[in-house]
């Protein structure tokens, strides 16, 4: 039977099932294959806070969404076109995100009484017409999987665990993707357990040919490869990119990397990644707490390492005292805060941007620290490198903000040409002549002198320092001067960072000004609004303290400024301080990223409709 093939520009799929159903794996296999196929794409995993909640419960549902496209893609999609729901809970939890007409594929076998009840349904949703309006496909995935493995030596439990590959195979068929990449992966992964390799291969094929051969499906779809810039690509998540960026800074400076860290969601992955890079000379130290994480890094920095500490919200709060020490000792140090829902322990697995003011002001005393923020998974790479550039050049701690959304999300990343990455020139002073610990160069940076340098023995610390000599000083005028010097050093960085770029016209009605992981949603919304003729432009900030020098002028060129943030208006506050201008805060504090539609609607309503 020959099925119709429909060409689409883009598709959003969400895989959802129990924590134990392997949805993260299914999603990432689909992504990898799709990336290899040449689509642009963005992925968004959504784990529950529980490790493995009881089967069938709503809070045990794990999801993985991806959007792939023949065009440039900026978000993982607002509303899935296709939902694969492995059980009633997955259906229940995700149905509300679907628009009418969406495709739903369910594992019919999982809709037994117990699961239906666990999900909080009174009646079987597959049978009460509540899904009218959706394209519903009820497929007995479990039985089909079991059938395919009827001859296998696997246990019933093991067989059951293969069912995600059936769903994956079916999706490969539906979206016309090759099976080879996953088959290759299966063979590598289960090299030592041939029975599993064989079973998964069988089931993947079974899923694929189920689509091909049954009459349930009339249509399959194809999304042509995107017109991506030439080059070699890999998939990269934000946390992977941060790790890569840090190691790159180390290789490009010739200075080894030290990470002092304490595990915390959603930042732990950076620690995991970096602890694999031993042959890059990376030293990782899993400390007893966040305070030891940062202070061990300060020690390593004193010892001449590129020093890094990574954390998230509550852990950041614990590091603030030590941040002051880094400010006073003027040692280079990079602090990455992968933000999550707050306050307190808050929503550990959810995304948020609510630590910006803390990054600016969360310390005792006048303790200025540069703040930068990454906007996409791939951009995390550049920002990590930039953090080390600023930190070593200016002898200062630097706070780099990421968030749970871009940390876990992934996208294809054009691997940069090694030679295109600038060298990071780091100088350790060894010259005795004329040395003083708090003398300053043209960037107001003091010299970095590491223990082991003969004749340059000196002491630093957290008490106020006398200018130049660095001795402890209680002198009133010196203190005022040092406070101003430290502030000025940070402020001066504005001369050393790129001007920010306006996407769209340089002047107009509305400027959408964002920072961090909201980039994609804003970009998609702005593109749509621009297409509709609205006078809208976008500026997205990567440097926040200090701001790019041209920002003030840009702001003057727009009638209204919208600042979408996943907090209650933190960048807005800083803009008011800095530029004394009113801005329109567009706030969402739901533990979820913005959808492009939300921002588009805001733009649209603020512009009073089309122009």
């Amino acid at each position: 039977m020959k099925k119709e093939i429909k060409k689409l520009d883009e598709v959003t799929i969400r895989f959802a099932g129990d924590s134990g159903d392997g949805m993260q794996l299914t999603g990432s296999q689909f992504s990898d294959t799709t990336a290899l196929f040449g689509n642009d794409l963005i992925t968004l995993p959504d784990y529950p806070a529980e490790i493995r909640a009881p089967a069938g419960t709503l809070y045990g549902v794990s999801g993985f969404q991806l959007r792939f496209s023949s065009q440039d893609t900026n978000t993982p999609g607002d509303h899935p076109d296709v939902l694969v729901a492995m059980n009633p809970a997955a259906l229940k939890k995700n149905q509300k995100d679907l628009l009418p007409g969406a495709t739903i594929i369910v594992n019919q076998d999982a809709f037994d009484l117990r699961n239906i009840r666990s999900a909080g349904y009174n009646v079987n949703p597959l049978e009460d017409n509540s899904l009218d309006g959706f394209k519903l496909f009820k497929i007995p995935i479990s039985s089909l999987t079991a059938n395919a493995l009827a001859d296998s030596s696997l246990t019933v439990k093991e067989v059951a665990r293969c069912k995600n590959f059936f769903a994956l195979g079916l999706m490969y068929w539906m979206f016309n993707r090759p099976l080879e990449p996953t088959l290759k992966w299966i063979n590598k992964k289960f090299k030592k357990v041939p029975a599993l390799a064989e079973a998964n291969t069988k089931v993947l094929n079974a899923g694929y040919y189920y689509g091909e051969n049954t009459e349930i499906f009339e249509t399959r779809y194809t999304v042509s490869p995107a017109n991506l810039p030439k080059g070699t690509y890999r998939n990269i998540s934000g946390n992977e990119a941060l790790a890569l960026g840090c190691v790159t800074a180390s290789l490009k400076s010739g200075v080894p990397l030290f990470l002092g860290s304490y595990p915390i969601t959603p930042a732990s992955e950076i620690l995991h990644q970096l602890s694999t890079y031993k042959n890059f000379g990376v030293k990782t130290f899993q400390a007893e707490d966040e305070i030891a994480g940062i202070t061990s890094a300060i020690g390593a920095s004193f010892g001449g390492y590129l020093a890094l500490t990574t954390t998230s919200g509550p852990g950041m709060a614990l590091k603030t005292e030590a941040l002051g020490l880094a400010v006073m000792t003027e040692l280079p140090l990079v602090i990455i805060n992968v933000q999550r829902g707050g306050p307190s322990t808050g929503l550990p697995t959810k995304t948020e941007q609510s630590d910006l003011l803390q990054a600016f002001y969360g310390r005792n005393g006048e303790a200025p620290i540069p703040v930068i923020a990454a906007s996409t998974p791939g951009n995390c790479f550049e920002m990590a490198f930039e953090a080390f550039r600023i930190s070593t050049k200016y002898m200062t701690p630097v706070i780099l903000l990421s968030d749970g959304y871009i940390a876990n999300g992934a996208e294809p990343w054009l691997i940069p040409d090694e030679s295109s990455i600038p060298e990071l020139s780091v100088k350790f002073r060894t010259e005795k002549e004329g040395f003083a610990p708090y003398m300053r160069d043209e960037n107001l940076a003091r010299p970095w002198v590491v223990p082991g340098t003969p004749g340059l023995e000196h002491r630093i610390g957290g008490l106020e320092k006398a200018n130049i000599t660095g001795n402890v000083s209680h002198d009133p005028d010196n203190h005022h001067m040092m406070c101003e010097l430290r502030a000025k050093k940070v402020k001066n960085i504005e001369n050393d960072i790129p001007e920010t770029e306006v996407f769209g016209e340089e002047k107009g009605d509305i400027l959408v000004l964002g920072w961090g992981g909201t980039y994609g949603a804003i970009r998609d919304a702005v593109i749509r609004a621009q297409k509709e003729g609205l006078s809208v432009s976008q500026v997205h900030l990567h440097h926040i303290n200090p701001f790019p020098k041209n920002l003030g002028n840009i702001l003057k060129n727009f009638k209204k400024i919208i600042v979408p943030e996943l907090n209650l208006g933190q960048l807005s506050k800083i803009l008011r301080i800095e530029f004394l201008i009113p801005v329109e805060s567009f706030c969402k504090v739901k533990g979820l990223p913005f959808t492009a539609v939300e921002i588009y609607s805001k733009i649209s309503s603020m512009s009073g409709g089309k122009k």
Binding site: T232, N235, E288, A292, T295, G299, L325, E418, R459, I460
Partner: protein, 341 residues
Amino acid sequence: MTTNTEIKYTAKDFASDQDVRWCPGCGDYSILAQVQRTFPDIGVPKEKIVIISGIGCSSRFTYYMDTFGMHGIHGRAPAIAGGLKIARPDLSVWVAAGDGDLLSIGGNHFIHTCRKNIDLKILLFNNRIYGLTKGQYSPTSEKGKITKSSPYGSVDYPFNPLSLALGAGATFIARSIDRNPKHMQEMIKKAADHKGTSFVEIFQNCNIFNDGAYDHLSSKDTKDDAVLVLEHGKPMIFGSQRNKGIILNGTKPQVVNIDEGNYSINDILVHSETDDNPFLSYLLTYLSENPDYPTPIGVFRNVLRPTCDEEIQNQINYITEVNGKGTLKELFHNTTTWTVE
């Protein structure tokens, strides 16, 4: 530690240009003097020595030594020092800390340092009081102590710092006393020689807020009967007549007189620093808890185990040998890639 035989230092080489600002009469002066006297003999060039401290009177130590140093923040010296040592195993890294600094706010870093056996030399300036903040009780203050923050007597039991270190897995623990310069020098030297966390508790008099805390251990009249000087391989004999000794009665230590005929020197417990099993050390740390026993000074335990810093370095060396030194190319391509032409 690199041994450097060319340079011959004197104590003066380790004195910085900063005025020493402790109260006249403070026991810290003696510790500073003994460290400065010992360092010429530990075989480390001075640019390779780093002293890390927290906050407290004692933590000012850093400023007075002409080595590299960091006067950190309260309680965090072991963590700062640990990071430095892991980054730079070639350095000799010392921690100078007060009892509040190391055991109150810094207690966690201290026990984890001991557990991980990071090769740090930790000197505890134990004056049983908060000096710099002007006289509150500390975690080593005796129960019932009247201080500014305990006007009716503190209700807290003190830590026994050596027991705590042992419980946390420390490989080298020792004790000395400010008024016994020679002994302290010996302890500092041994701490320097040990590879792994070396912890030296130094009884230090704060003559402003806790004067006389250790008088019975240092005054001529009492010290011989009050102090048991531990020596590896030697029986535990003490007393002005050197006729008292420690024996083990089941699981309980007992003080006996070897002149009275019931016991001879052969019955006396023989000290061993290097027992892998730590019971003897536990037994010895406990003695000072109980007025029936003398207070031991000397090295309680001194065993060798691979250190955290060297193990991390070894792992790096090994993986680098196996996989080759990482390159940017390798880094970027360490997963599936594809090419758009």
